[in-house]
Point group: C2
Chain length 406, copies 2
């Protein structure tokens, strides 16, 4: 009974067993092994800011500990943080979002799960793009719901559009999920397109679930929220996070904005699923919404923008042909079809040849996933340039693939 048998000694749930591992974990494991052997590895596979959280956040958390604020908070979150987020929407997005519609969650994964659990019956359909953030698919499957994947290409900057949505519409779709800026592509959906989709879905009686986790991290354009335009639509749900723009990944804190009628259900679900979000993180988040902290975060945003520009330019000069310039997040989704038809083998080979770690497209879906990789610019400009040089050197040795690259 104790041997690592190929079949488990006791049964595992079918859906759980079918959950995909993150393929990048294999790359990460190899990268760590190479590092342990003394090799220099450039990590461009990591989906979190290299910056630590701000000193202001640390001071606020310390203050909260001293004051004995180490107990549970209400399930919906600290009232003062819900109010601060309401003000945040008012000040920065001219969006009227009452605090009552805002709920803190232990990370945005939890927010995503909470919303989908509140909405989906077994068999309900959820539409999303391929590629998309991998957990989206898994949550839908865990809820015994049905996934409708819409393959997207450079033609729509890898995003859903109203025409695509209409073309793929079918009865039984209850939720449509979009992300702007998107992981893995870094592209945004223009506000008018979003509003048009939200209104189309309102007519159909379906929800638009909007991932704004990378909100704030956009370049050469103002940050936006769908709530500036659709705050009064009862079918629009927003997920956000203190992890990315606010650089608080390890604090595990996110929030959701939902229509008022859903809040009691979400509160009851939250009581069961997590009780409350981490208390110190909530006190820390109060500090990160203050002007001095936001000013420092704006500086970090500018650093990410420079990194994006540096990476794009270096790739172009190296002939690595990135076709889409990302608008935000810290990702570049790179079509590698000129070099490979097997993204996982490609990433593994490049890691060994160059020490550069990338994420294979297969982590984000099926559609042309073996012909894409994700580059994260979560390292400094000099390192990014060095990485591109290395990639260029390795790829120059390869015979280009003979097929048409699109």
């Amino acid at each position: 009974m104790k041997s690592p048998a190929p079949t488990p000694p006791y049964p595992i749930a079918d859906t759980a067993q079918r959950i995909q591992p993150f393929h990048v974990m294999k790359i990460l494991g190899e990268a760590k092994a190479l590092e342990a052997q003394g090799h220099d590895i450039i990590h461009m596979e990591i989906g979190e800011p290299d910056f630590s959280s701000l000193p202001q956040v640390h001071a606020a958390a310390q203050q909260a500990m001293k004051a004995g604020h180490t107990h549970y908070t209400p399930t919906l979150g600290l009232p003062e943080l819900r109010s601060a987020l309401s003000d945040f929407y008012g000040h920065f997005y001219r969006a009227d979002v009452p605090a009552e519609r805002i709920m803190l969650t232990p990370g945005s994964s939890s927010g995503l799960q909470l919303l989908l659990t509140a909405l989906l019956n077994p068999g309900d359909k959820v539409l999303m793009t391929d590629p998309a953030y991998p957990c989206n698919r898994e949550f839908v499957r865990l809820l015994q719901s049905q996934l409708i994947s819409v393959p997207v290409t450079e033609a729509t900057r890898y995003q859903l559009t109203l025409p695509l949505l209409k073309a793929h519409w079918q009865d039984g779709i209850k939720v449509v999920m979009v992300a702007s800026p998107s992981n893995p592509t870094g592209t945004v959906i223009e506000a008018d397109e979003l509003v048009a989709m939200a209104e189309f879905l309102a007519e159909k009686g379906a929800y638009l679930l909007m991932d704004e986790i990378y909100q704030g991290l956009v370049y050469n354009r103002p940050a936006e929220s769908i709530l500036s335009r659709c705050a009064d639509l009862n079918n629009v749900l927003v997920i956000n996070s203190f992890s990315k723009f606010f650089c608080m990944t390890g604090w595990r804190l996110g929030w959701i904005v939902a229509p008022t009628f859903l809040i009691p259900t979400l509160e009851r679900l939250g009581q069961n699923l997590f009780l409350s979000a981490p208390t110190l993180s909530q006190y820390g988040a109060l500090a990160v919404l203050e002007p001095d902290a936001l000013a420092e975060l704006e500086q970090r945003r500018q650093i990410f923008q420079k990194r994006r520009d540096t990476l794009m330019q270096a790739m172009q000069e190296a002939g690595l042909s990135p076709r889409i310039c990302p608008d935000g997040a810290f990702y570049l989704y790179w079509d590698i079809s000129a070099f490979s038809d097997d993204a996982e083998a490609f990433c593994l080979a490049l890691l060994h040849e160059t020490g550069v770690a990338l994420t294979p497209g297969t982590d984000f879906g099926d559609y042309r996933a073996q012909q894409h990789v994700r580059l994260a610019y979560t390292t400094d400009e000099e390192t990014l340039q060095r990485a591109v040089e290395k990639l260029k050197g390795a790829l120059r040795k390869r015979a280009p693939l003979s097929h048409n690259s699109d």
Copy 2:
């Protein structure tokens, strides 16, 4: 579309809509309203220690912030904390639990959800006692699984026994859930009984999911873990928490111990459900497992023991006839059938008459739930005595119910 219509403007999932609110929330709401009016309220409804987390924990968290440890940890948790927990089992419970079998979770709610999601297919059956911790039932329902409730009484100290388990056994049961010490009853299951149940379930190919969240908080007896006896059984799963004995509720950190063959599935699930447990909480937990912190927690345990003894004695002297002396946790499950057939009305009336807030039994199940309330001794001895005096005064005025109380 914006009016608060009785039917939601967009559909809510059936299971989510059926989730029960915590009935105690109504009591808590009324209690807060009374406090706002200047009334003196004694909170005996609160399920968390009144103690804040220890200064050692705060120092460790501060140190971690300073060192920039504010990023994600591995999904299974900080390797050093998994090792520290392995040592903890070795030192205190003489249990051989390799670090590889231990996974940190963001609170034990999350651990519970993780394990049940890993095990249950829709339609699978889960057996548990009535009364039990309310979230257990809800998780089973959310997974579209089937709940088998075993009504338990004082005769078995409100616990499952091997004879009860055999009597209620039926095909399709995949998981049996027990808690020792239990919320809401504070009673424990003796080790021999547990082992016998675990072995019976092993024969049946079913899991024993053991809630040890209140482990360590036991009185006049040594703390125990099923892992001392059943560490080699592949069907035994343990949930634990830093919230109760370790007084770290707001830090949202728990852990699970699972057989090795389940760990890859749990890791993949965890990547999707929560990514990683809060980082500072994990560094804080490293400090709380050190001898100096454990010595302070032992003093707190002794304080809870004195409170239990004070509460029991005061109730006995007041003729409030608590029939079962709890072995652990910080709860007393009180049969109020001599006074009421409606626990919710009883709690509400007592709150208004005496200012003492209690939790109605209906939060923990259906079986004789209206004839029980839960008292939490998470306040000091003097307050507990004062509470009992008030309850005595109010109940003396009531005509006792005429039915047989059991």
